[in-house]
C-alpha cells in the first residue's frame, strides 16, 4: 500500500542478505526516501564515522509515491555520510530504477560493511543475491549496465552502478542509473566504491497499490493538470530543459564565472538552451535531439543530445557519435561558465564522460575552475598538470581533464580531490568555492541573496536543491522577492527547506514544486498512504527531517563556523550586472535564520525545538 513495508539489509562484509519489516512508526514521522532513510541512518551509524570506512552505511530508498502514477513518482535517493563533505548526504535520482525497487517489493535497501572483492546485488523480486563483479571492475557505468542485462538475458533489468571514478575514490563520484540519471552529489558513489559494490540491478514485477484508488486518481490527475497548465513545468522545462535558465541567470547577474571572480559570463549564450537548439554547420542538426522523461514524469525536462561529429573530441571516436544524456543547466554552468569555456560540444562531451564514468559534473567543473585559477597565479604549473595548459577558457584542458578524472589518472587524480582539498594542498584554501567541502552550483550568492543562506545552511554542503529560492527571487514562484535584498530571506529559505524535504521524501521530483505547493501534494499522499496527511502534518515532517539532518552534522563535528561562505563572496563585490557593488549579506541573514529555526546562536537546535518536533 504505497509503502511496500519491507526493506532489504545487505551485509557486504559477511555476504548476507535479510528482509525486515519497515518501521511504520518511523514512516509516519519521516514519510519515506530522504526522511525515513536518514532516520534509519542516524539510528545505526556513528556520526564520527569515516565516510570510506566499512562502518559507514549506504541506503538506497524510495518514497511512498514511488512507482505510482503520480507525476514524476519514480524517484529514489542514496543516503550516507558523504565522501566529499563528511556531512549527511542524500542524493536524489530519477530515471526508472526507483520504480523497479518498489515493484520488487522493497522500500529501501541498506548496505553495511564492505565486500572483500567486487560484487553487485541482483534483486529479482523475492530473490536477492550478491554476484561476483570482478569482470566489471574497471569498466564504465555504461558497460556495466549493458553487461548485467546481457549476462541475465533480460533487457528490462534496471541498473544503478558506479564507474571507474567511484572505484578509484574520486571524492564526488555518483551512483548512475539508466545510463545518465544520477544520484549525483556529495560523493555517494565514492562510498559505494569503498564497499566494493559495483552495481545494484533490479527486476521487479509485483505492482504498487494505493490506499484509496478513486481518490488517488483524482488527486494525481489534478496534479498533472496543474503541471501542464503552468508556464514553467508545462512549457519552459519540456521545451528548453533546465538550460532555459542560462541566459536568465546571466542577465540577473548571478551566473558565477571563472571560479566566481565574475557574476556574468560572456559565453553564456553559446552554452545555453537556445544554442542547443541551433542547427550546426556540419550536418544542419542541432545539439538537442529531443526531450525525455523520467519514470511517470509529465514534465519531461531531460535533454538528449549529440556532439558535432566533426568536433575534435569525437571525430575519431564513433562510440561517442550517438545520442545520450545532454546538458542540464547546473552541468552546463560548471563545465562552461565556471571554467570560462564556451564550446558547447566540448561541454556536451565532458558531460557524456561524467555520466559514463560516474562523477558529478558540478563539483568537477567547479574544481577545474579553481585549478585554472591556481594555474593562473602560479600555484600549480605544467609540472603538476602533466603538461596540460590549464587556462580559463581552454576547452581542450576541460575535456582532457574529464577523461583523466574519470579514470583518476595523472592530474585528473588531483581534480578528483574536489576543490577544497586541491586548493588547500597548493596553499590557497580560499580559492575553493564551496561550503562544507561541496562546490557551489550555478547561482551567485551576491546576485541572488537567498542562495547565499541556502548554501551556507544546506545540510549536505553547498546545494541549490535544498531550498531553491531562485524560484521566488528570479522566477516569482510562489511570489516574487527581490534577489538583491537580504531582508525576508531567512524565512523564505526555511520555508523552502522544510517543503523540499517533503518532496524529497515522498518519491516525487522537486521540479514539480515550480507548479505544486504542498496543497497539491498532500491529497496525493493522503489518498495513497495510510494515515492522515495534511499540509500541516507534512510541513512538520519537513521541519523534523531538517533538524534530524542538522543534529547528525552537529554530532559529526560541524558547527556554526561551517555555515559560512568563502571570503570572495563576502568581500569582493560583484563587478557587473544588477548586483554590481554588492557582496553576500549572509552575516545579516544567518542569526535571523537560527532564531526562526529555534536554534541557539551557535546553530544548535534547542531542547524545546527538538521536543516540539518529537526528536
Amino acid at each position: 500500500m504505497a509503502w511496500a513495508k519491507k526493506l532489504l539489509r545487505v551485509n557486504l562484509t559477511a555476504g548476507t542478505i535479510s528482509e525486515e519489516a519497515l518501521n511504520m512508526d518511523w514512516a509516519n514521522k519521516y514519510l519515506g526516501q530522504r526522511g525515513l532513510a536518514t532516520k534509519y541512518f542516524v539510528e545505526e551509524v556513528d556520526p564520527k564515522v569515516d565516510p570510506l570506512s566499512p562502518d559507514n552505511k549506504m541506503i538506497m530508498a524510495t518514497g511512498p509515491l514511488t512507482g505510482t502514477c503520480a507525476s514524476t513518482a519514480g524517484r529514489y535517493s542514496v543516503i550516507t555520510k558523504g565522501a566529499l563533505t563528511g556531512a549527511i548526504a542524500c542524493s536524489n535520482s530519477g530515471g526508472f530504477f526507483g520504480n523497479e525497487m518498489k515493484n520488487a517489493g522493497y522500500d529501501m535497501v541498506i548496505f553495511e560493511g564492505a565486500s572483500k572483492t567486487p560484487v553487485y546485488l541482483f534483486i529479482d523480486n523475492d530473490n536477492a543475491q550478491l554476484i561476483d563483479a570482478s569482470d566489471m571492475w574497471g569498466t564504465s557505468v555504461w558497460d556495466t549496465e549493458d553487461k548485467i542485462k546481457s549476462d541475465h538475458q533480460d533487457p528490462m533489468i534496471r541498473v544503478a552502478s558506479i564507474g571507474i571514478s567511484g572505484e578509484k575514490g574520486v571524492k564526488y563520484a555518483c551512483v548512475v542509473n539508466d545510463y545518465h540519471r544520477a544520484a549525483g552529489r556529495s560523493g555517494v558513489g565514492t562510498v559505494m566504491g569503498s564497499k566494493n559494490l559495483k552495481a545494484v540491478a533490479i527486476r521487479g514485477t509485483k505492482g504498487v497499490t494505493v490506499k484509496d484508488p478513486v481518490r488517488f486518481f483524482e488527486a494525481a490527475n489534478a496534479g498533472k493538470a496543474v503541471l501542464a497548465g503552468n508556464p514553467v513545468t508545462g512549457e519552459g522545462l519540456p521545451a528548453f530543459g533546465t538550460q532555459v535558465l542560462m541566459n536568465v541567470i546571466n542577465e540577473t547577474g548571478a551566473l558565477p564565472s571563472q571560479n566566481h571572480r565574475d557574476v556574468q559570463f560572456d559565453g553564456a549564450h553559446a552554452i545555453s538552451a537556445e544554442a542547443m537548439a541551433e542547427p550546426r554547420e556540419s550536418d544542419g542538426k542541432p545539439n538537442l535531439v529531443r526531450n525525455a522523461a523520467c519514470f511517470g514524469c509529465t514534465i519531461a525536462c531531460g535533454r538528449i543530445s549529440t556532439i558535432d561529429r566533426t568536433h575534435y573530441t569525437v571525430a575519431e571516436r564513433p562510440e561517442y557519435q550517438v545520442a545520450s544524456g545532454g546538458l542540464e543547466y547546473e552541468a552546463a554552468w560548471a563545465l562552461g561558465a565556471a571554467t570560462g569555456v564556451d564550446d558547447l560540444d566540448a561541454l556536451t562531451f565532458a558531460n557524456f564522460i561524467c555520466n559514463e564514468q560516474g562523477y558529478d559534473p558540478i563539483s568537477f567543473g567547479a574544481t577545474v575552475g579553481a585549478a585554472m585559477e591556481l594555474y593562473e597565479i602560479g600555484a600549480i604549473t605544467d609540472k603538476e598538470t602533466g603538461g596540460i595548459e590549464l587556462k580559463f577558457g581552454s576547452a581542450k584542458a576541460l575535456t582532457d581533464l574529464a577523461e583523466l578524472t574519470g579514470k583518476s589518472e595523472g592530474f585528473g587524480a588531483e581534480i578528483g580531490l574536489g576543490s577544497k582539498l586541491l586548493c588547500e594542498k597548493y596553499g590557497h584554501g580560499e580559492l575553493s568555492m564551496s561550503v562544507k567541502g561541496q562546490e557551489f552550483p550555478a547561482y551567485d550568492s551576491r546576485g541572488i541573496q537567498g542562495m547565499g543562506l541556502t548554501y551556507a545552511t544546506s545540510n549536505r554542503g553547498a546545494c541549490h536543491l535544498r531550498s531553491y529560492t531562485v524560484a521566488s527571487e528570479v522566477l516569482g514562484i510562489p511570489e516574487k522577492t527581490d534577489p538583491l535584498v537580504h531582508e525576508g530571506k531567512a524565512g523564505l529559505v526555511k520555508a523552502f527547506q522544510d517543503a523540499t524535504a517533503v518532496f524529497d521524501s515522498a518519491g516525487i521530483c522537486v521540479f514539480t514544486s515550480f507548479a505544486w505547493s504542498l496543497e497539491d501534494v498532500a491529497p496525493q499522499i493522503d489518498a495513497a498512504c495510510e494515515g492522515d496527511w495534511s499540509v500541516e502534518t507534512l510541513l512538520e515532517v519537513g521541519e523534523r527531517i531538517w533538524n534530524l539532518e542538522r543534529n547528525f552534522n552537529n554530532a559529526a563535528g560541524f558547527t556554526a563556523a561551517d555555515d559560512k561562505l568563502p571570503e570572495r563572496l563576502m568581500k569582493d563585490a560583484a563587478k557587473t550586472g544588477p548586483a554590481k557593488g554588492l557582496t553576500s549579506q549572509l552575516d545579516k541573514m544567518l542569526p535571523e535564520y537560527y532564531q526562526l529555526r529555534g536554534w541557539t546562536a551557535d546553530g544548535v537546535p534547542t531542547n524545546e525545538t527538538l521536543g516540539r518536533l518529537g526528536l
Partner: protein, 158 residues
C-alpha cells in the same frame, strides 16, 4: 464509428504513464511489467516508441487459438482473450507477427490489449498525445494534415 489507437513516436517522451494506466486497469496495481502496451527506448538514438496490439482484422492470434479463447468484440474491433477458456498454450504468442500478445506466468493465461471496452486508458493517460484513439478509418489523418500544411507553405512562398 470504430476507433483505433494511433501512435506517434515523435511525441513520446518515454514517461511510461501509459504502462501505469494499462497495468492499473487490468491488474489493479501500477505494474509496468504487466502492461499490454510497452514503450521501447532506443537509447543511442534518443527515440521512444510505444508499441501494442493493432487489432488485426484477420487476427493471427485468434485464428491460431485451438480452444477459441480469443474472440472479436464487434463494437470496438478488439480481439479479446477469455481467461476462462485460455489454457496458456502460447500458440497465439507464436502466431502473432508483432509480439503483442504475451504469456503471463503468474496466471497461466495470455494477455493483450483489449482497448478497455472502447475507452483505452493508455490514450487517456498520455501527457503528450503520442497515443490517441481515433476513427479507425482515418488513422492517417493527422499525418496527412501535417504534410498538407507543408504543401500549403510551399505554395505560399512560391
Amino acid at each position: 464509428m470504430q476507433k483505433s489507437l494511433s501512435i506517434d513516436p515523435d511525441k513520446c517522451t518515454g514517461c511510461l504513464q501509459c504502462e501505469l494506466a494499462c497495468s492499473y486497469d487490468n491488474e489493479n496495481a501500477f505494474n509496468p511489467a504487466k502492461s499490454r502496451i510497452k514503450i521501447f527506448t532506443f537509447h543511442d538514438k534518443g527515440r521512444f516508441v510505444p508499441y501494442t496490439c493493432t487489432q488485426c482484422y484477420e487476427a493471427w492470434c485468434m485464428h491460431a487459438c485451438p480452444v477459441d479463447a480469443i474472440t472479436l468484440d464487434k463494437g470496438t474491433g478488439a480481439k479479446i482473450v477469455h481467461d476462462n477458456l485460455c489454457v496458456g498454450c502460447k500458440v497465439c504468442t507464436i502466431a502473432c507477427p508483432f509480439g503483442t500478445i504475451n504469456y503471463n506466468a503468474d496466471t497461466g493465461k495470455v494477455i493483450k490489449c483489449d482497448l478497455c471496452e472502447g475507452e483505452p486508458e493508455c490514450a487517456k493517460a498520455c501527457p503528450t498525445d503520442a497515443i490517441t484513439y481515433v476513427d479507425a478509418n482515418w488513422t492517417g489523418l493527422e499525418k496527412m494534415r501535417a504534410w498538407a500544411e507543408k504543401t500549403d507553405a510551399g505554395q505560399a512562398s512560391a
